[in-house]
């Protein structure tokens, strides 16, 4: 069994496929039962959040005065119960999940773009430019960013676009550091030298030769950034600085639930459960991916 797979890899290598790292990683990941379970749960949550609200009969902001603060029951189809305004918590949890997941993805994408370009540029150019650029990252790194983001949200209104930008803009620092380190080692490799010798321009080398080879590190980092970002958004929403009524997110729902926890604990428990489960799954997948992509740790 092992031999045939090795042979297959060898054949693929000979055919110029060169996807050994990825197929190896994929196989290691599939063997990691915790990570696969986490991925399955995350997929279910995502599908529920994306398609669920359209399939349920009630709107997320519909006030049903006949069912105020009722516990979860099948009667009236309030699977998770309702809040103190008679809004169906099931739909609200899913709609809130949409916001949380979207913030996670978009803000991570923002930090990804900034971090990769900055890190790759610094690492590839090297010398003084690199030193100055990394000095700037060091300086920014020491800032109490959470406080600046709170400040930003307070001062410039509480709109979602600002959340994306604010969170994305603070999360690129780690990414830039990691990417720079990786770039430093990639740029000494033969294929980069070959491109330089062939007279390829610097931006093109960075785009075509450096960035594609960063993906291993970046993928792991992205799966670990998404939960961080979701956490920051729910932190802001919990303080009442994130998304505004009647729109909601998991953080905002937890905040509402925390106020009602004595007479309607389900308003806390369901959103909190979804939030925690999502973060849990993202972290597990990230860990699994790191183990899968990093051969050094595989023996451990």
């Amino acid at each position: 069994m092992r031999k045939t797979s090795q042979n297959r890899a060898a054949v693929r290598q000979a055919a110029g496929g060169g996807r050994g790292l990825w197929s190896d990683a994929w196989r290691a990941l599939r063997r990691n039962r915790a990570a696969m379970t986490a991925a399955a749960i995350l997929a279910v949550v995502a599908v529920l959040c994306v398609f669920g609200p359209a399939l349920t009969p009630v709107e997320f902001d519909y006030l049903d005065w006949d069912y105020v603060s009722v516990p979860p029951s099948l009667e009236g189809w309030h699977l998770f119960g309702t809040d103190d305004l008679g809004r169906d918590l099931f739909v609200r949890t899913l709609v809130g999940g949409r916001i949380s997941l979207m913030v996670g993805l978009v803000a991570t994408a923002v930090s990804l773009v900034i971090g990769i370009s900055y890190g790759a540029l610094a690492g590839y150019l090297g010398g003084r430019t690199d030193q100055v650029m990394m000095r700037i990252v060091d300086i920014l790194y020491a800032m109490p960013f959470m406080f600046l983001v709170i400040l930003l949200m307070v001062l410039f209104g509480r709109n979602i676009a600002l959340i994306f930008v604010a969170i994305g803009a603070i999360n690129w620092l780690d990414m830039a550091r990691i990417v720079r380190g990786q770039t430093l080692s990639i740029k000494r490799r033969e294929f980069v030298e070959a491109a330089q010798a062939a007279g390829v321009s610097t931006p093109r080398i960075i785009r075509r030769h450096i960035v594609p080879n960063l993906f291993g590190v970046v993928v792991v980092y992205v799966t670990l950034t998404i939960p961080q970002v979701i956490l920051v958004e729910s932190f802001l929403s919990f303080l009442g600085l994130g998304v505004q009524e009647p729109m909601t997110s998991w953080g905002a729902l937890v905040n509402e639930g925390a106020k009602e926890l004595e007479n309607a604990p389900w308003t806390l428990i369901f959103p909190a459960g979804f939030l925690a489960a999502t973060l849990f799954c993202c972290n597990f997948i990230g860990d699994g991916l790191r183990d899968a992509l990093d051969p050094r740790d595989r023996s451990a």
Partner: protein, 312 residues
């Protein structure tokens, strides 16, 4: 080592200045001012108020004035609490936050290192997996979820602990009120520290000098305490900087949840009331604190790790 310390001090100064300037200009660029009220003030009165708070001066002059005050430990007057200075508010709120934060950090270190070390010794056994699963849970459940859940369990259902508040008469009376906030603050840090400790301990225990010590026939406890612990805890030491920042940030929500009159709550209230100077003061104060702590951690790291010492 001394040169290294000096270098680090000079690196911290631009960070501080940028932080102050950024916060300062962000606040001034915001729409709406601190004296926006329901009724419109007479323009003359408003002009007088603005002049009294130096809001009529050009921006750079205001910034200069602010920096001048800061250098003397004066954070300026609060814009919302009449007749109170921000310095006073910080002096009042910070000791409360410090008590919570320090207890949380101690608890996190104690439990985190113990659990992580124990897991490292029993690598890949069920107890190791249990510790790791628990710490993953700790990382995944944010403290603003842990807080209300703790209240639900221990205050509402079991009625063992008070749900919040902060008695001012003596530490002993306050102890029951501190238990839940401290746990809520410490939990994510326990989890991180346990994971870090486990990872680095496993690496250290595999290294040659430990094998050498074993070959010499040293007792397991001697090997662990005298040889493995110090290098094994270096990553934990360098994590203390970010951990402090995380605990400070976390205390903002935790103080809100448990009704603790600390600096974090002042900050949120000030932010909602557009109390410019108070918000600025807290951001700068915490900024200095975090930068200072990072500096101390780096120095300790340099003292403990001979590799860093030699490079500098």
């Amino acid at each position: 080592m001394f040169r290294y310390a000096i270098k680090r001090v000079f690196a911290a100064i631009p960070t501080l200045l940028i932080l102050i300037a950024l916060a300062f200009f962000m606040i001034r660029a915001a729409p709406g001012g601190p004296f926006d009220t329901e009724k419109t003030l007479h323009p003359e009165i408003e002009a007088k108020i603005r002049a009294a708070y130096h809001l009529d001066e050009p921006l750079y002059q205001q910034l200069y004035r602010y920096l001048q005050g800061l250098a003397q430990g004066d954070f300026g007057p609060s814009f919302q609490y009449i007749d109170r200075s921000v310095t006073e508010l910080i002096r009042e709120g910070f000791p409360v936050s410090l008590q919570l934060g320090a207890c949380a950090m101690l608890l996190a270190l104690l439990v985190g290192v113990t659990a992580g070390g124990w897991a490292a010794l029993r690598q890949n056994r069920p107890s190791d997996h249990a510790v790791m699963a628990a710490s993953m849970t700790g990382i995944s459940i944010p403290n603003f979820v842990v807080g209300p859940l703790l209240i639900l369990a221990f205050a509402v259902h079991l009625d063992w602990l008070p749900a919040g508040g902060w008695p001012t008469e003596g530490l002993l009376a306050r102890l029951p009120n501190m238990v839940m906030p401290v746990i809520a603050l410490a939990l994510p840090q326990i989890a991180y520290i346990a994971r870090l400790t486990r990872g680095s301990m496993i690496e250290v225990l595999r290294s040659n000098f430990i094998r050498m010590a074993r070959a010499q026939g040293l007792a397991q406890s001697t090997i662990l305490l005298r040889h493995a612990l110090k290098p094994g805890l270096l990553p934990v030491l360098s994590y203390l900087g970010p951990a402090t920042a995380a605990v400070i940030t976390g205390s903002v929500v935790v103080e809100q949840i448990f009704g603790v009159p600390g600096l974090g709550r002042h900050f949120v209230q000030g932010a909602l009331n557009r109390d410019y100077t108070l918000v600025m003061g807290v951001v700068v104060f915490y900024g200095v604190l975090i930068i200072l702590f990072n500096f101390l951690v780096d120095i300790c790291y340099g003292l403990l790790d001979p590799r860093v010492r030699q490079r500098n």
